[in-house]
């Protein structure tokens, strides 16, 4: 219980200082990334200007996976060590991950149409990313489906851990199966296999997205903490009477202490 009081307060102080930096940093880096992606980067030899979609699609995909990993780790910490902030971090991260997954799917579809001739194909990579999207939605639905938020948090944590098996499938699906989606060009053993002129905007956009994730994460965590504080204050207000532990002790055991 003492732990609960100390940690959220520290988080609130730290995030109050970190948020503006992350927020403005995200805006600046993403703006630079957009300029590089749309203007400076050259059109691809084979894919023409559609390669610019890659500068959104790939960083979004990286974030979709990273945020789920964050969600799973936070859920594990919440279940095993019962750290109160961990469950809040997981709840806060889920919608952000879902958003990035949606962007990944939509931009991928828009990239696939001119390149493969199809808006959608049911190959291993696309299907497992779609499953990831549903996992995010399922997590969000589940944690909000219980009247008791603690139960919702614990159940959601379990679901997040069950869904973790999907991550290696997504990452390696393009290697294990003969898929239409191209294999890894950046995150592979042996180093990136992509031209430096393309790599730079890709990395800038990835950093921008990461900073955006951190900003929104802190924002949403602070929101949840506020909402729980408001709930506690409201419950206190509806039950007038001795509030402090000492006062309650005096009423229950008159003459003691």
């Amino acid at each position: 219980m003492i732990n609960w009081v100390a940690n959220p307060a520290r988080f609130t102080r730290l995030s109050a200082r970190a948020m503006p930096w992350c927020g403005w940093g995200a805006a600046a880096v993403t703006a630079a990334g957009l300029y590089w992606s749309l203007v400076l980067a050259p059109p691809d030899y084979q894919q023409g200007d559609t390669v610019r979609i890659m500068f959104i699609h790939v960083p979004a995909a990286w974030m979709a996976l990273t945020v789920y990993l964050f969600l799973a780790v936070a859920s594990a910490v919440a279940l095993v060590w019962r750290h109160p902030l961990a469950e809040i971090a997981a709840r806060a991260a889920a919608p952000i991950g879902a958003a990035f997954t949606l962007i990944c799917l939509a931009t991928g579809s828009l990239w696939g149409r001119p390149m493969w001739g199809a808006w959608w194909v049911w190959d291993a990579r696309l299907t497992s990313v779609l499953v990831l999207f549903f996992l995010y939605l399922g997590y969000i639905t589940l944690v909000n489906a219980f009247d008791d938020p603690a139960r919702g948090g614990k159940t959601g944590s379990l679901l997040a851990l069950v869904g973790v098996v999907n991550l290696p499938i997504i990452k390696f699906s393009v290697d294990w199966w003969n898929t239409l989606h191209q294999p890894a060009s950046v995150m592979r053993i042996g180093g990136p296999r992509i031209d430096i002129a393309m790599l730079v905007p890709l990395v800038i956009m990835a950093v921008g997205f990461l900073l955006l994730f951190l900003t929104l994460l802190m924002l949403r965590m602070r929101t949840i903490l506020n909402e729980r504080k408001a709930m506690a204050l409201r419950l206190n207000a509806e039950a007038p009477g001795p509030r402090s532990v000492q006062e309650r002790a005096m009423v229950v055991h008159p003459g003691a202490g």
Binding site: D49, T50, R52, W111, R220, N226
Partner: protein, 56 residues
């Protein structure tokens, strides 16, 4: 095509490239706006409750 017109034409792929950037912008801006609005509401709620019942 060159210049501004060329930029918007995206080598003939404009109908794919611009919607892709548009989707990303709309989704992320929407998420940010929603998160910010919920945050402001939570701050106001706590302030209002603390004004009527000062916490210890």
């Amino acid at each position: 095509m060159s210049g501004i017109a060329g930029f918007f034409a995206m080598g003939g792929y404009a109908e794919f490239v611009w919607p892709a950037y548009g989707v990303a912008l709309v989704v992320l801006a929407g998420l940010t706006a929603h998160s910010w609005r919920r945050y402001r509401q939570s701050v106001l709620a706590v302030e209002r409750l603390q004004r009527t019942r000062p916490s210890r």
